[in-house]
Symmetry: C2
């Protein structure tokens, strides 16, 4: 069982930043990724629909004998995590709780900024999760609708990205936050620009790294670490165009990825 | 029958720019708008799903005794227009053909630029429609994924909008187009910025105005013009949050709108 892969899924490419962080921390763990590009974005869809998609993907990944499942998508975590936990007999983790814990650990002033898509911010998922762990934490939220298309256009190092980040982050800076939680899996690609705008006194908390730490905790607790010493096997699946996935996916993963296999689950 | 309203629907707010153009041309025609904000965006959804949504909305509007239906949404036009035409006994028009005709009428060099969302551009709907009418027309397409969020953020007159437009339009300008078709109902709100970037030698063709001309033609042909002389009644429905619709809707419609009624069709 220990040498079985870890399954990771997202509505599209964003979860590949999580997979990249996981791969860096555990270079010998086999990983299987499913990007549901045919149904992206999940953010605007009803909880019932998101749960249905998530269950299909979880069942598919379970059939690949994964030892653990990571829901690397904010919306799917918000809507489907409890259902998938009940459905599978393996450990299942999402992105919201690990990110929230890390943001609380990072703040000294007890003022946390959360940025995400409109859907994530409107759902208050991170705010609720943070205040469930720490009632006294002040959470300031900001939706950043332009960030995803900026990342997907590959414009992360442009003046447009910088000016956009400046507008979005100013209200949070004014609130004197000292911890900024990236509540969207696309945002790690904007890290340099965000650092320029917020300066050195605000710590960036990246869900992707927080999830890796949570995986470490779970694998350790359940004694599920792989005993292999060779480089991991990375497998990719998508529900839409594999060529497009390979091209854009490499940007999110931070290195070239092999062509994924197309899988239709409906 | 002549004093019955014209029905207009879109996946969200964008179609309100069409409604605004129609209202300006026919201030005495009663109009009913349905914005399917619960399901927005249609662009990423399967044709079957878009057809299902469109049929539900068409049936709802037909129950309001509309005399004509305008599908003010590119994706719904591309996927559902033939189905809805068969389904209803009243005239039904979409946005693609009127826009294509107007772009062909506007070009002298026979070089047309089309801008739209990624989904619209990937579908080649406008290119196919233009080349169906004029085989010799050269069509250059450009997806502009940042334009919709820029409009929805209200950033139409910012440097970000200008720089973004500059990047997107440069390849079309280099192709020496002389007619630029706005293939997305959000884009008329960017008209000033687009004009700055393309200069005076390229004509902007706005689908919203083209649709109004097509409505005029149809109402005239079928003898369906209203004989009322008083200001029209404008009615709005949405499938999601009415407050948000009213707030954002006013921006697209160009003037304040009354609070819409929320309707769930599923």
């Amino acid at each position: 069982m220990n040498n079985n892969p870890i399954g990771i899924f997202d509505s599209g490419f964003g979860g590949l930043t999580v997979m990249s962080a996981v791969h860096k921390m555990f270079p010998c763990e086999n990983l299987i990724y499913f990007g549901d590009s045919a149904h992206v974005p999940y953010g605007s869809k009803s909880p019932e629909t998101v749960i249905r998609f998530s269950k299909d993907i979880a069942a598919f990944l379970a059939s690949k004998k994964i030892k653990m499942l990571v829901i690397a998508c904010n919306t799917a975590t918000a809507h489907a995590l409890p259902t998938i936990k009940k459905m599978l007999k393996i450990p299942v983790i999402g992105v919201i709780e690990p990110g929230s814990k890390a943001a609380i650990a990072a703040t000294i002033a007890n003022k946390i900024g959360v940025i995400g898509t409109q859907g994530t911010i409107d759902s208050n998922s991170y705010k609720k999760s943070i205040n469930k762990i720490s009632k006294s934490a002040l959470v300031y939220q900001q939706a950043c609708p332009l960030f995803v298309p900026i990342v997907e256009e590959g414009w992360t190092n442009t003046r447009i990205a910088l000016e956009t980040a400046d507008i979005y982050l100013k209200p949070l800076i004014n609130k004197k936050i000292d911890s900024l939680l990236l509540g969207c899996t696309h945002y790690p690609l904007l890290r340099k620009v965000l650092e320029k705008v917020i300066g050195k006194n605000i710590k960036i908390v990246d869900s992707a790294n927080a999830v890796s730490c949570e995986i470490k905790r779970v694998l350790n607790e359940k004694n599920l670490f792989s005993n292999k010493k060779r480089a991991a096997i990375l497998t990719f699946y998508t529900s839409d165009n594999p060529k497009k996935f390979q091209k854009l996916g490499g940007v999110f993963f931070g290195q070239k990825i092999p062509k994924p296999q197309k899988i239709t689950l409906e």
